[in-house]
């Protein structure tokens, strides 16, 4: 135990300093929190605007889609809080400051992940958590030990899957550098996809967001399983239980991409 504490001490010191620095500009931090909450709120409003004029989309009614939104947004925001700053790697690559990480006797990826933490995402996670609680309350959930386990499994797997997306994107930046927006298409596009009823997707979207980047497994499929809905023709209703498999696949993809990226990296020169 003492050994673990000693080994994680440098990471904890960095994270604590990052948290302190964010809270030190109080007005800006408060505005940051409020704005982040507003981001989540407006995204929920977009869903509501569409459902105002139709009863159900892809087999989900408004109550069910609020639950999908809650699971997807809560897990994405928490992953964004812990892993979102991996997005800054193109800046490090261009400026050559990534090389500083190499000088420290710690694993590169672990350093990058623990180099920052975005506390403002807590506000957005709050919106997601509220949608989740409201969603669980207004839907007709048959509560049992297995349904509780399913929700817990979905939350843990969703977090892991979205976290893997950030790591995958960071690995791909070693090749792209200027093309960060290409990975945004799948990281932030993935978040958008995760809040949708996947039954409306056409074939290319099923391939990309159903399986390659398993976004349908983060929220939509667990909710279909939880509510006992029929689900889309191309996926059986029990598939929600396979969310951890999707998370493992996402991490496999992420770590392989990261490894390839690091091997490709030639240093910043200078």
């Amino acid at each position: 135990m003492g050994d673990l504490a000693a080994r994680t001490a440098p990471y904890r010191a960095v994270l604590a300093s990052r948290m302190r620095s964010q809270r030190s500009y109080r007005a800006n931090f408060a505005l940051d929190l409020a704005s982040s909450a507003l981001v989540g709120f407006v995204e929920l409003a977009e869903v509501w605007v569409i459902f105002r004029s139709v009863d159900s989309l892809g087999g989900l009614d408004l109550a069910a889609v609020v639950l999908v939104f809650g699971v997807a947004d809560l897990t994405f925001s928490l992953a964004d809080l812990a892993f979102g700053h991996c997005d800054t790697i193109p800046t490090y690559l261009r400026a050559g400051t990534l090389d500083v990480f190499y000088l420290r006797p710690q694993p590169l990826l672990l350093q990058l992940i623990t180099s920052d933490i975005s506390l403002r995402r807590l506000a957005r996670a709050g919106v997601g958590a509220t949608a989740l609680v409201v969603g669980l309350a207004i839907n007709d959930v048959a509560w049992s030990a297995s349904s509780v386990a399913l929700v817990a499994l979905a939350l843990a797997s969703g977090f892991a899957t979205f976290a893997a997306m950030f790591v995958w994107a960071a690995g791909a930046q070693f090749y792209l550098i200027d093309g960060a927006e290409a990975t945004n298409a799948f990281v932030y596009g993935g978040r958008y996809a995760a809040t949708q009823p996947a039954a409306v997707w056409d074939r290319p979207l099923k391939a990309v967001f159903g399986f390659l980047f398993p976004m349908a497994f983060t929220a939509y499929l667990p909710v279909v399983t939880l509510l006992g809905l029929p689900g889309p023709e191309w996926m059986p209703g029990w598939l929600g239980w396979c969310a951890p498999v999707a998370a493992l696949w996402a991490w496999l993809l992420a770590l392989l991409t990261w490894r390839a990226g690091v091997r490709h990296y030639q240093g910043g020169g200078g």
Partner: protein, 266 residues
């Protein structure tokens, strides 16, 4: 002479953007992915509503989706600008020493970059939409002329409005909170994810009281032929109104900010 200076800045912005080819390709990938996701969701919504959703059929919805995705590279819905960075770092003091109007020079450069982005991101997005998904477009050539004017106005209004966000930096220094606020409101009211016609009346009224629909929603409505005749002329008129308002505000903010500017460090 006056016009030539700003025309050169426009060309400089245009050429600067043309060097970021990989970034443009990345942007196109993002536009297409989001476009396909929007197609899936909004087409399903149109179907569920019985083929007509607030005046949009599938063809009009497709035109909305792909034209708005195509405009994304050219209008600023993020709130981040180089100008905000220059004000924070104090570099703007150097800009004030140059014999040009800082406000207009910034706008000219931004508009140049935005107009270039129509080539690698705007046209391909619309082409993908037209050929892969299919969309309805107007037959009347006059609609395209007015549509082109409306798109240019939208790009300029975007640059003049986001300049105001940067200008708050003269007073606030750190503008990230304002930028995020701008990002949230501008995207929603510009019709980024849902056409503002689908909003309930009170929300629609709130959106039209801001310059944001002028950046994306109105140009899309005009060039897609969803509105025609007097109505599209009215939308272009609204864009001109917001252009004049935001330029006047930008001039005032720059003058007041110049007196307020405090550059830290030596």
């Amino acid at each position: 002479m006056f016009v030539r200076t700003y025309a050169r800045l426009f060309v400089a912005g245009f050429r600067r953007q043309s060097t970021y080819r990989l970034a443009a390709l990345g942007g196109l990938v993002a536009n297409t992915t989001f476009g396909l996701l929007k197609v899936a969701l909004l087409f399903a919504a149109v179907d569920a509503a019985g083929g007509q959703l607030s005046g949009y059929d599938v063809g009009a919805m497709s035109a909305y989706i792909w034209i708005s995705q195509g405009l994304l590279g050219s209008i600023n819905l993020f709130g981040r600008t180089d100008m905000a960075v220059r004000i924070r770092s104090g570099d703007v003091a150097v800009d004030f020493l140059r014999p040009v109007d800082v406000h207009l020079a910034t706008i000219a450069t931004e508009v140049g970059r935005s107009v270039f982005a129509l080539l690698p991101r705007g046209l391909p997005s619309v082409a993908i939409g037209a050929f892969v998904v299919g969309m309805s477009l107007p037959d009347d050539p006059a609609a395209y002329v007015l549509g082109a004017l409306s798109i240019v106005l939208g790009i300029v209004v975007s640059a003049t409005t986001v300049y105001l966000v940067a200008a708050t930096g003269f007073w606030l220094v750190e503008t990230r909170g304002v930028e995020i606020l701008y990002m949230v409101v501008s995207g929603f009211f510009a019709g980024l994810f849902v056409p503002i016609r689908l909003f309930p009346d009170w929300l629609h009224a709130a959106a039209t009281a801001t310059p944001f629909p002028s950046m994306m929603m109105y140009p899309v409505d005009v060039i897609s032929g969803r509105v025609d005749g007097a109505e599209s002329a009215g939308l272009v008129g609204l864009q001109v109104f917001w252009l004049a308002t935001t330029i006047a505000a930008g001039q005032l903010a720059t003058r007041a900010g110049r007196r307020r500017l405090e550059v830290q460090g030596g």
